[in-house]
């Protein structure tokens, strides 16, 4: 098992190597010695390769929220199933929500042929309405939302089977 963490879209492998007076860990193949002095479950001091850092950390679901060196970081914990590629890979025609919101209107139905750029949905978030357009030409293969329904960021709203994937 290889623990992996995602920061700003980049994956990093961080493995424990040995526990002792300090902890030896490997970050992307480099060995470092780490010591942690925790004041409580959220705060403490971390000593990494001789440098001291005051930190704050909190965890929710698969994300670690960290404040270190005067700035905030969001670190995604890659679980083994994700790493195994359990989730279906996104096809070109997948429309994901750019932000959380509510569906105002749906302009297409499953089976409709759409052109690239054709408006598919009207969504609303923070009193802003945005039209979502088909990324590729093809056929609408799935609509996962309904009018009035709400969604989170990155939710798969509509799937379009790209024209080249269609069977003759």
């Amino acid at each position: 098992m290889r623990p992996q963490y995602r920061i700003n879209g980049c994956l990093h492998e961080v493995v424990p190597k040995r526990q002792g007076h300090t902890r030896r860990i490997g970050i992307d193949g480099r060995d470092l010695d780490v010591a942690q002095v925790a004041a409580d479950q959220h705060r403490g001091t971390l000593i990494v390769a001789g440098h001291r850092y005051a930190y704050h950390v909190a965890q929710d679901d698969g994300t670690l929220y960290i404040h270190l060196g005067g700035r905030h970081f969001e670190v995604g914990i890659v679980d083994e199933f994700q790493a195994a590629g359990r989730h279906d890979a996104d096809g070109d025609g997948d429309l994901r929500a750019p932000m959380p919101g509510v569906v105002e209107a749906i302009y297409v139905a499953v089976g409709d042929r759409v052109a690239a750029g054709q408006p598919m949905l009207l969504i609303e978030s923070m009193k802003l309405q945005t039209e979502i357009h088909a990324p590729v030409a093809g056929t609408v293969s799935a609509i996962n939302v309904e009018v009035g329904g709400s969604f989170q960021r990155n939710a798969l709203l509509v799937a379009v089977a790209a024209a080249s994937e269609e069977h003759p």
């Binding site: 098992m1 290889r2 623990p3 493995v15 424990p16 190597k17 040995r18 526990q19 679980d79 083994e80 199933f81 790493a83 195994a84 590629g85 359990r86």
Partner: protein, 535 residues
């Protein structure tokens, strides 16, 4: 506890000579081990890749917890057999940590002849499961085997400890309450199908995993039915129709993730509370072992120097230090665990035999495991000793040792010849683990002696038929017998035949024994009880 006083002179010519010899020997050992583990014909690797399979050792590294050790057993099994066609006996066994739990791993090595079972493969798997039973360890099977190696089927099928014993062991292990998980990465055919079937949990990989008593060609031949591998025993069928396997995995990585999630649910047995302190590195440098071990089994060495480079803080509470001095024994800590150490410091005499027997009784009374460090050419022979009862004293030593209720661990540090092997807990005496050093040798008697005896027999035979050999021919016969004999006394031969659980670099022994002791604590140590001691 007092520290052993080392008298080692690291500047002596002898030290340097031994060191040079042993470093070369270790380099050779590591090379052999490396070859056995990794050296594969390109086509065998490509075949696996084309089947979308990972290499078995890649699977293992993903399965095991990061930052934990893996004690591989019998890495050089079958090294001297089958013309070298089956390195490691086409399987990988060992003790590792998965989801925080100690487990025994039994993995097919499909990069060797598709993971086919040679006679020694069967022996290695049976031995691994014996270890699991003795130590009450859960087992994870990584199944990916082409099945029995047919040309040698008569050596792997019919007898008591052959293939059937694997499934008998799995059943007994389950009866003892030890969990078993199978990850099916390839085919499990005929008997092999029983491995996942007898496991409590099984995960099967889509597309490559298959479980069936008979594969499509056999089915076609037997009944004329036409059926594909997947239809007959593939992942979808077994996880949704027959219920033979529990989890469908779309990929090998997913299978491993599922396996780890399953192990995460397992209850851990309570450990026997063996006396334990904070572990401490040996005071003396284990690296110096290379200069202590002689370059011949004829030369001796002070076993205390070896003990000093293996136990915590190099401390030993030696028992009867002035009596029976050809045997060293005492209490020490190893990785914090209290242990009783018995090591040879010469030939076994009456007094050393009695001392050993008494000390073993003390360890049983004290509920402390026994570690045997063998370097024994034999018991003393001769009229004086016989009259003083050396045979019955040796028998007492064997009786106490064989009836011990505490876990035993044996390390062949140099020579293991004749009856000395028995008293000092040789293979037949159920040590939980038995390891050899690369320099060690084992046989019923010393090679020179044996070679001379055998050569005499051969020469007499020739003389009876009228072909009296000349001195040159005699020498040639002697040399040939000697060479043959030496080959069969080497650690590589005995490890190949699975007379041990693996060859260890001497400096690795401390960690190996630490892990071994940890795994041996899953049942309480019994009340001391022995058969009749001829007093």
């Amino acid at each position: 506890m007092r520290r052993i006083e080392s008298g080692l002179n690291t500047n002596s010519a002898l030290y340097k000579r031994y060191r040079e010899h042993n470093l070369a020997m270790m380099a050779d050992f590591h090379q052999r081990q490396d070859n056995a583990r990794h050296h594969r014909p390109e086509r065998d690797i490509s075949r696996l890749r084309n089947q979308n399979k990972m290499l078995p050792r890649e699977r293992l590294e993903l399965l095991l917890d990061p930052g934990t050790p893996f004690l591989e057993l019998s890495s050089l099994a079958a090294g001297e057999a089958y013309g070298g066609a089956a390195p490691g006996a086409s399987c990988i066994t060992g003790i590792g940590v998965v989801a925080g739990r100690e487990v025994l791993i039994n993995a097919s090595d499909s990069s060797v002849k598709g993971g086919a079972w040679y006679p020694l493969t069967v022996k290695k798997i049976v031995r691994a499961l014996d270890i699991a039973i003795d130590n009450r360890l859960p087992v994870i099977h990584l199944c990916d085997s082409a099945g029995g190696f047919l040309p040698l089927q008569s050596h792997l099928f019919g007898d008591k400890y052959m293939a059937g014993r694997i499934f008998r062991n799995q059943s007994q292990l389950s009866k003892l309450g030890c969990q078993q998980l199978s990850l099916v990465f390839g085919h499990c055919t005929a008997g092999g199908a029983y491995i996942p079937a007898l496991s409590d949990y099984s995960v099967i990989v889509a597309g490559t995993g298959a479980v069936f008593l008979g594969g499509p060609p056999l089915v076609k031949a037997a009944t004329g039915e036409d059926v594909s591998v997947d239809e007959l025993g593939g992942a979808r069928m077994h996880t949704s129709v027959s219920g033979t396997c529990d989890y469908y995995a779309a990929s090998e990585r997913e299978a491993i993730a599922l396996g780890r999630e399953i192990v995460m649910q397992w209850a851990q047995p309570p450990k026997f509370a063996l006396q334990r302190e904070t572990p401490e590195e040996p005071y003396y440098d284990p690296d110096e072992l290379y200069g202590i071990i002689p370059d011949t089994t004829k030369a001796g060495f002070d076993m205390r120097e070896v003990i000093a480079r293996m136990v915590d803080g190099s401390r030993l509470a030696e028992y009867q230090p002035d009596y029976g001095t050809t045997l060293v024994c005492g209490f020490a800590n190893l990785w914090g665990y209290k242990v009783g150490i018995i090591g040879n410091n010469g030939v076994l005499f009456n007094d050393s035999s009695l001392k050993a027997a008494h000390f073993m009784e003390l360890c049983n009374q004290n509920r402390v495991p026994l570690i045997f460090l063998q370097n024994i050419t034999g018991y003393m022979v001769g009229k004086e000793y016989e009259q003083q009862g050396i045979t019955k004293h040796g028998a007492k030593m064997i009786m106490v040792q064989a009836c011990s209720e505490v876990p035993k661990f044996t390390v062949m540090t140099n020579g293991s010849f004749g009856a000395g092997n028995y008293g000092m807990c040789g293979r037949a005496f159920d040590a939980r683990y038995l390891f050899s050093w690369p320099n060690s040798q084992i046989s019923v008697m010393g090679s020179e002696q044996a070679a001379n005896t055998l050569a005499t027999v051969k020469i007499d035979q020739l003389r009876r038929t009228g072909e009296a050999p000349d001195p040159e021919q005699i020498e040639a016969i002697r040399q040939a017998v000697l060479a043959d004999y030496e080959n069969q006394t080497s650690a590589y031969y005995s490890s190949s035949e699975l007379w041990d659980d693996g060859i260890l670099d001497p400096v690795a022994t401390r960690n190996a024994l630490g892990i071994a002791i940890s795994t041996s604590l899953n049942t309480p140590f019994g009340e001391p009880r022995y058969g009749v001691l001829r007093l």
